[in-house]
Symmetry: C2
Subunit: 352 residues, 2 copies
């Protein structure tokens, strides 16, 4: 359509995972949501929002959230840039840093949204493939050699579950001239994170979200952490009041309830181990994961038919419509009950 | 900073109006919020959000909101594109349609965010000045002659309060080859709107918000209305889950409570008339407004000192740091009580 830029006309829209209108009996293991409800303290704050304050614009920087992140993660609050989910931060970074003639680099497979944003910016897109033979480890030197103006490294990475050692990330940050975005959407479930890099590397921005570890995907809260000089440039492309009053306050309360968070994470890691063991026992190749999901190579190589079969049994898992992933599924770690349902569904499939 | 595009380094960030952390006794008439609380029915829906559904991603198209807009405004629901405030829609349109070599056109003074988005896109920016001598009427033929790939017309316009007759907007849509964005953020308070244009003009997108007429600035809900072919291109730059589950449900309930909405609007229009009369009686030139605000030329020509003086008296009004607006204030229409406070504050100023 003539109204749109050529690159917009040519690109495909990002297609999100299926969100059924009513969950009913469905075990929803397709979009890496948390199986547990949000913190009771967060829900208590939500109940406080019955008065008329919603008539006022929220604080443009979601100050409550900045303060909570600062306290909980031990970073200065002005190093925190709140977003309408961490997708919003990815968009801001792309808008501030990418354009024709500038390059975005990321390993594949990964979150397809980095590519989407590169396409919107009409930037040069360099994908660094990881390989099954190398257990999908990120080839850091190849990533560095690609010399991105922006490099996205998701750690732990979806869909593979592979995390990058913080020392390797530090090495990448040191060698890269451009901006290094470390997407830690799944860091809550990992052995380590890269927060310590922020002190010495001025080209690093870390992304976090409350959608996974804090059971608040429906609230839309994410944030970036970086030095204020760096945030100043990213901020210029922020929507004025991008985070509403409710997400800011409820998100802050969820962050401050670390006891509840830690208990949810503990249970998810426990079920991740069980799922891995049980699916391996069913002849799947289960890839080691530091996220709240497992990537699985299915025994008969036909992941689509298993995905469809499980769907018929009210179990949603993620199949990627991508030839390189034809034999793989990504399955979110559910509650004990949901994992039971997955395994029962699996056992009732007529696998060839 | 080398990480950012040159145009980002060169541009200034948009500076929103002041949002005091605690309102206390302040009459906040600086950012065109609604003085009345949101619909009680909307707040009732909010109270329903104490369960665990927030752990799930929201519907990517905020279906509840689409349906409510469809029912209330009499448009097909798939003509509705929900946003994280209408700012979010302005951003999507800019990202999908603007780039170097493409042109954005808008009259001035207006919402400065159109320019901000043109700067971010590094597009050609053509500002069509309106003049005091012509009562800030929009010179439609000059706007058309500027031949924008995207033309923004805010009606009613802030800060002037001037609305454009729907027939004139229709004429502009007919003559323009590019996209015409009619920003109706303030249409709730106006005599007419441009919805009927959507049926016959395939290059029109209308923007609405719940921040003004529905007292929900803190919730962050806006939407665009256009034919689905047009929305398809705009949609490609939407953040995946841009509207959270709470804004979608609460916003839908607010929209469906038209009785409450109409009563709030009626009271605001009543106070707008009273404010206009009273400020005129205090030697202000009050410009005719179809919004929930008045633009006022102050008697001594020094709007800054009046803004500061009123602030000392707990009354916030909007002063624009812009030479062309040095003798003008934009004052939101408050409740009767807030208007009383404004007038008492005004009378206690020592005007030269």
């Amino acid at each position: 359509m003539k109204f749109f830029r050529d690159n917009i006309n040519e690109m495909q829209a990002y297609i999100p995972g299926e969100q059924p209108a009513n969950l009913g009996q469905i075990a929803k293991l397709n979009t890496n949501e948390n199986p547990y409800p949000p913190s009771p303290r967060a829900l208590e704050v939500l109940r406080g929002y019955t008065d008329g304050n919603l008539r006022l614009y929220p604080d443009a920087m979601a100050r409550d959230l900045q303060l909570a992140v600062g306290d909980v993660l031990g970073v200065p609050s002005d190093w925190v840039l709140p977003g309408d989910g961490s997708d919003d931060l990815i968009i801001m970074i792309a808008r501030s840093c990418l354009a024709p003639g500038r390059r975005v680099v990321f390993p594949t497979p990964t979150f397809p949204y980095y590519k989407t944003q590169g396409q919107i910016a009409a930037a040069e897109i360099v994908e660094i493939p990881t390989s099954e033979a190398e257990d999908f480890r990120i080839p850091i030197d190849a990533v560095i050699a690609a010399a991105g103006d922006v490099t996205f490294l998701s750690s732990p990475n979806s869909p593979t579950g592979v995390a990058i050692d913080p020392d390797r990330l530090d090495y990448a940050a040191e060698k890269l001239d451009g901006l290094l975005v470390i997407d830690e959407a799944y860091a809550d479930f990992a052995d380590a994170n890269a927060l310590k890099l922020l002190e010495k590397r001025n080209n690093v921005i870390i992304l976090r979200t409350l959608s996974k570890g804090y059971s608040l995907a429906g609230l839309r809260v994410g944030f970036g952490i970086a030095n204020p000089q760096l945030l100043e440039g990213v901020l210029k492309t922020k929507s004025i009041y991008n985070v509403g009053a409710i997400p800011a306050a409820v998100g802050a309360a969820a962050l401050r309830d670390q006891t509840y968070h830690d208990e949810c994470v503990r249970k998810i890691i426990e079920q991740r181990g069980r799922m891995s063991q049980e699916l391996s026992a069913r002849s799947c190749k289960v890839w080691a994961s530091q996220g709240n999901f497992l990537m699985v190579t299915v025994p008969d190589g036909n992941a689509k038919s298993i995905c469809d079969g499980l769907k018929d049994r009210d179990v949603l898992v993620r199949y990627f419509n991508n030839p390189a992933m034809a034999d793989k599924l990504r399955i979110s770690v559910g509650s004990k009950c949901e994992v039971d349902k997955l395994l029962a569904g699996w056992d009732s499939l007529e696998l060839k």
